[in-house]
Structures are given as C-alpha cells and as structure tokens.
C-alpha cells in the first residue's frame, strides 16, 4: 500500500540562483494583439481572462496590433521615448554619482521605465499619483526639473524635503505627486481614501498608486482592495511585478500559483496583467482603467510584468542572489528599445535621431547637475541650517520646540566659539 501523502513545508525558491542557467519558463506570455479589449463598464465577472493572460500591443515585428492599440500619434510616442530615455540617463548618472561618493544612496528604475512614463502620460494632470520608489518616470512626464530631484538627492539648501527624507523619496504637491513612503504599501489605502474623497466631492479625478509585487504581501494591499471595492473608489492600483524584492523573488509574494492580477477578481475588482515593458500596452490599459474609474465603474488592479534590471538600490549586489545574465534573457525585452524599434518601424525615428536625443539628454543631465551643486553638495557649499528641523513638525511651532531650538542654537554657537578660540 502506498504511503499516505503528508503535508510538507514549501519554501519557494527561484528557478535560478547565481551560476544556474536562467529560467523564465514560469513567465507566461500571450502573443501581441490577442487579448480582446472589453468595454470600460464591463462587469468584473466577464473580465477574468485579462487577469491571467498578458495584454501586449507591440509584436516581435515592432508593429502595434490588436484591440488594445491606443493609436497614439508618432509625436506622442516620441515624447514617451524621450521621457523614458531621460529617466534612464538620469538614473545612470545618479548611480555613477553615488559610486563617486557625491550622493549617499540611489535607486534606479532600469528596465521599468515604461510603467511610470506610459501611465503618467495616460492620466490627466489633476489625477493624484501615489508612487513607490521606482517611479521617477512620473516626474519626467509631469515636468519637474531634474535640478529639483538632484537637490533632493543632495539634501542641499534647495532640497524639497529640507534635508528630512532619504534620497529618492521625492514628492510634489503642486504636481499632484504624493510623498514616497519607506513603509511599503502604506500609500495604497491612502490612495483609495484620496479617491473616495474625489468621489464624495463629485470630481472625476482619479488616484493612481504603485507598489511592487513584494509589498503586495503587506496588509495594506488587502485593505486597499477591500476599501476600493466596497466604496467603488476611482482608483488604479498597480502592482509592478519586477520579479525581485531585493533578494526575495516573486514566489515569496504569492506569485507561484496565481498571477498578481488574479487577486483583483477575488475582491470584485478587474485585474489586468499587462506586458510592463510594452509602452503601448501599459498606456492602453491605464487609459482603460482611468476611463472606467472616471465614469463611475470603480477601481482596477493592474499587474505590470517587468524585470528589475538594476540592483534594488546602491546598497545591494544582485550577483549574490540571481544569475548575472537574467536581464539579457528576460522574455519581454527592454522597454526603451521596444518603443524605439516601433517608431523606427513606423518611419518616425532613426538611429541618428536616437543618438542625437541621447546626447541632448546627457547634456541636460550634466547641466542640471552643475546647477544643483550650486546649492550645496555633501561636502561643500551652502549647508542646511539645523534650525530648519524644528519647522514643519506642526504648522505653528509649539513652545517646547521653540525651547529646544533655542537650546540647540546656543550649543552650536558655544561650540563655534570654542573652535574659534582654539584657532585663535
């Protein structure tokens, strides 16, 4: 008699670790153009295939095909390419700058540029964005000068955070971009609350929030989904499945047995699994979800299937936990190259124009860095006044903080006088 099966602890492990051959057989793809595009008001129950297949528009021949083709004009595509390329070049430069010790920390979005850029372009300026830390592309789309981002990275005298937040934790109230949180996924229920407020006020603006697949394990994800469904909130909830959360592969977030998009229908929310490296597909599904939200049909969950080509941050070394050549073998390619090839195929772009654009943007980054460093660097130039840290704890400074500020001022002045005396 065969022994009775018994339960065993399953500890997920990625298909490949350093030295192993790359294996992306677990990433299921669908041919470009194959998925139908339902009406934006379609009932959730009819949308199940969207959560399990993969919405793709750009085919291997670099042509846009199928019902999800957003039919964007070439000039719009060129703007998208420009924003993605700027994001990439900015990231590259800031990475090098960190390695030179000129900034303390950085996080690149290499390989994921289409997610932020296409989504921000598909939304309206009044829509509120609740980003995670790999969404710098939204800043390019909404036109925040690089100098401002660099000043934040430098924590210098023009830092938008006044020296109080980690580098890359940008925010821009006037640009309708919320602060980035280091406590992951906390922005998800907050985005839903913002969307509830928009609905209560009778406005047709939508909220759009991003988390990684790793932090979809947080309770915030569940709470946000419940609240979004219960109140039919006009919100787009994005899970950027870039396969890796530092060294934790997507199987540890529950990606082995089901897609992340498939969680949507379980909550009564449409889930769309999209090729996150396909600018046109990301644009199209975002447009669909935004229109659905704006016209009263509620939230959408979008899973962007992409790959974190760079390290998690400047503080980790991915060669310790994944094969070095994974990105080269990533089945969905490179988002910048794919949009570029599409424009070339349309006769609207060329290698020469691309090289010229890259040169122009490189120069823009260089010029911006020069400008930013005028406001102070880690070692030289003007410095933030320690006094500033007592401001903005409350709108009005309470007496105890005034007292603590006065005490610090006195201590700093005494220390300065002592140094002066020693030198004298």
């Amino acid at each position: 008699m065969a022994p009775r099966p018994r339960s065993r602890l399953h500890v997920p492990h990625p298909p490949a670790r350093p030295g192993d051959p790359v294996d992306f057989s677990y990433v299921r793809t669908s041919p470009a153009g194959e998925m139908p595009r339902p009406e934006v008001a379609a009932p959730v129950a009819t949308l199940a295939p969207l959560a399990n297949e993969l919405v793709r528009v750009l085919g291997d021949d670099h042509r846009a095909v199928g019902a999800w083709d957003p039919h964007l004009e070439p000039d719009v595509l060129q703007v998208g390419l420009r924003h993605m390329l700027l994001t990439r070049l900015f990231d590259e430069r800031m990475q090098r700058t960190q390695r030179q010790g000129k900034i303390s920390f950085y996080m690149r979005s290499l390989g994921e540029e289409a997610v932020s850029v296409a989504q921000a372009m598909a939304l309206r300026p009044g829509d509120m964005l609740f980003p995670s830390y790999r969404n710098q592309g939204i800043y390019m789309v909404r036109g925040r000068p690089l100098v401002d981002l660099m000043c934040q990275l430098l924590s210098n005298t023009r830092d938008m955070c006044k020296g109080r937040q980690l580098p890359v934790m940008y925010h821009w109230k006037d640009g309708n971009i919320f602060s980035i949180s280091g406590n992951l996924a906390t922005q998800f229920p907050q985005a839903v609350g913002w969307a509830m407020a928009a609905a209560i006020k009778g406005q047709d603006d939508v909220a759009c929030a991003w988390i990684g697949e790793g932090s979809s394990a947080e309770g915030d994800f569940h709470s946000a989904m419940i609240f979004a469904e219960v109140y039919n909130a006009p919100v787009i909830l994005n899970v950027v499945n870039n396969q890796w959360a530092i060294s934790t592969f997507q199987g540890f977030a529950g990606g082995e047995q089901a897609t992340f998009a498939a969680r949507g229908p379980g909550y009564g929310i449409p889930g769309i699994r999209v090729d996150g490296n396909d600018f046109l597909a990301v644009y199209a599904v975002t447009q669909w979800a935004a229109e659905r939200a704006r016209t009263g049909s509620g939230p959408t969950l979008i899973e962007h299937v992409t790959y974190r080509a760079a390290a998690h941050s400047t503080s980790d070394d991915p060669s310790r936990y994944r094969p070095k050549d994974e990105y080269e073998r990533w089945p969905l390619g490179d988002p910048v190259e794919r949009l570029k090839s599409h424009l070339v195929a349309l006769g609207e772009w060329s290698e020469e124009r691309h090289a010229a654009l890259a040169k122009e943007l490189e120069e823009h980054v260089t010029k911006s860095w020069k400008e930013a460093t005028k406001f102070g660097t880690l070692t030289e130039g003007p410095k933030l006044d320690p006094d500033l840290m007592f401001e903005d704890v409350y709108k009005e400074m309470p007496p105890h903080l005034e007292k603590q500020r006065a005490q610090l001022r006195a201590e700093l002045a005494a220390a300065a006088a002592e140094r002066g005396a020693e030198r004298g």
Binding site: M160, K173, P189, V393
Partner: protein, 328 residues
C-alpha cells in the same frame, strides 16, 4: 442655564455641529452608521447626515485610518472612530509613519488634517484587549496633538477645535466617561486644545491627572478635604504638546505633587511628568513626587482583579498622604 447632559451626548452634539458647519467633515469607522458607534456617540447622525457623511467602514483599522489619511490629503476633514485604543495598534503605521511625520518629511508641502477618536481605558470588564491606556505612546510622537477630554465641556468643545487644526489630532475618550453627566459652562463647551485646567484649586498638594482618572482624582480630593487636606487637581487635557506651566504654577504653591496615571508605571506618561518636575520644579518641591499607576499586568477580566489592578480613590488618597509625610 443649560441642562445636564452626558459626555456621550456632548460628543454627539460636537459631531452634529461639526458636520452641520462644514461639508468637508465626515465620520468613518466601524458601526458608526445604523448602529450609532460602539459607544453610541453617533446614534441618529446617519439619518441626519446620510451615508456619505456617516460612513460605515470594513473591519480594518489599517484600511480606514489609511483611507482617512488619504481623504484628508484629498481635501476633506475626516473624523476616524476606532473602537478601542488596543485596535488602534493595527493602524500605527499610517498614524505614526504618515500622518504625524508627513508635514515634516515633505518639507512642509503635505499635511494631514485628520482627527482620530478612540475609546481608551479600563473599568468596564473588557479585559486586556479592550482596556489599556496607551495615550502615552501617542503622546511620545512628534507631529501629533493628543487630547484627553475628561469633562462634558471638553467632550463638546475639543472636537471642533481638533477639526480646525491643520495637523493630525488623536482624541482619547475614556470608556468610563461616556455616561458621566455634567452641565456645559458655555454653549460650545471648552474649545481650548492647548492648555491644562485647574479643576479644583488647593494649597496643600497638587494631584495631576487626565482623562478617565479625573473623576476618581476629584473624589480623592474631596476625601482629603474631609481630613483637612486642601488638594489641587490639575487636568492636563492635552498630552502633546504638553502644557506644564499650569502644573508648575500649582506645584509652586503646594510644593507637593501626586501623578495619577491609568497606564502602567514603568515608562508611563507619569514618568515624563515626574522627570519634568525634577528638571523644572525641583527646588519648589518639599517631598518626592508620588506616582499612582496601574499594576504592570495585562488588564484582567474578573471584576475584583480589574479593580485591584487600577488606581482607586483610596490609592490616590494614600499617595497624597505619603507625599504630605506626617503633616496629614
């Protein structure tokens, strides 16, 4: 002359007035709608203001506090009701890591005008998961304003002021106070959310307390008065930012201080008060500061155990006598 009303009624009136006066105000929480809230504060408000303003929430503190933060960012003035302080621990992340810190972290760009109300404290046989006094934890966090209304006036007056505050405010309503009644001294109650109040003047010893311990401390003062001891009672009302001036002023006169704190002794809020008295009123004191606090155990269920764990009138009186030495 206004009629007597309960603390609960005063809170309800404060909500009614806030909701009626500002279309941005809404109340969200578990069972706040048809049921009227777990302590019946919002009873009747659903019919008056509708389900968009009195919003029943799914059972997720993380969700409705997080959504409250988002709604505040979206231009509304949400009041979030949490059933009990113990459940608020499920929402510490949006409260501490976002609401309290955001104005500062964002260089002053974003702020969270959110009011969070919750029941706190023991004495109703609700055991360890519904009875703790954690307001001292919240009072530790920069960026929050922490209120402990203990009277009908404060129940009526503090909510409106909290909603006018551009920063997040956490209001602790002691569960034993809801049925306490009193008379408003002004039609809108006391809208001050910055200062302590002397609830009973006295010259022999200063009893400092807040929230649910106020009635008990006043009872202890009355008992002391019968024995010829004239005890002052200071109600802190606001735990952050803390108004110590009122405390120092009283201690300067009485030269003795007893701190009555329903939380656990070690690391409790009374420890902070005691340290401040050491720093700023040491030479005004004729005796060591006394603390009356809760036994350092999870609050038990059985009545006699719960009573034994909590500060009682007798323990406050005894502490005052110790502080007065042989003179009382």
């Amino acid at each position: 002359m206004s009629a007597r009303q309960t603390y609960r009624d005063a809170l309800r009136e404060a909500h009614r007035s806030a909701l009626g006066g500002d279309p941005r105000v809404l109340l969200i929480g578990e069972d706040v709608g048809r049921y009227g809230g777990s302590y019946a504060v919002s009873r009747g408000l659903l019919d008056e203001f509708g389900p968009d303003r009195i919003v029943d929430a799914p059972l997720s503190e993380l969700g409705f506090v997080g959504a409250g933060v988002g709604a505040a960012l979206g231009g509304l003035r949400p009041i979030v009701e949490i059933m009990t302080v113990n459940f608020s621990l499920l929402a510490l992340d949006p409260i501490v890591n976002t609401a309290a810190s955001l104005r500062h972290m964002s260089g002053g760009q974003f702020h969270v005008p959110l009011v969070i109300r919750m029941a706190t404290g023991a004495g109703r046989q609700l055991a360890a998961q519904h009875s703790h006094s954690l307001e001292g934890w919240y009072a530790h966090v920069p960026g929050l304003r922490v209120l402990a209304p203990a009277t009908v006036d404060d129940a009526r007056g503090m909510l409106g002021a909290a909603l006018d505050d551009p920063d997040p405010v956490v209001i602790f309503e002691h569960a034993q106070l809801y049925n306490v009644d009193g008379t408003l001294t002004a039609p809108g109650g006391d809208p001050d959310i910055a200062h302590a109040r002397v609830r009973r003047p006295g010259g022999d010893v200063t009893l400092v307390t807040w929230g649910g311990m106020l009635p008990r401390t006043l009872a202890a003062a009355a008992e002391l008065a019968e024995a010829g001891v004239d005890a002052a009672v200071v109600d802190l009302r606001v735990l952050r930012p803390l108004d110590m001036a009122t405390v120092y002023e009283s201690v300067r006169r009485t030269r003795r201080a007893v701190l009555v704190d329903e939380s656990w002794r070690s690391g409790g809020f009374a420890a902070e008060l005691s340290a401040r008295l050491m720093e700023c009123a040491f030479y005004d004191l004729d005796a060591p500061v006394e603390r009356v606090a809760t036994a350092e155990v999870p609050i038990p269920y059985a009545r006699q155990l719960e009573e034994a764990a909590l500060p009682q009138v007798a323990s406050i009186v005894a502490a005052a006598r110790r502080c007065l030495g042989g003179s009382a």
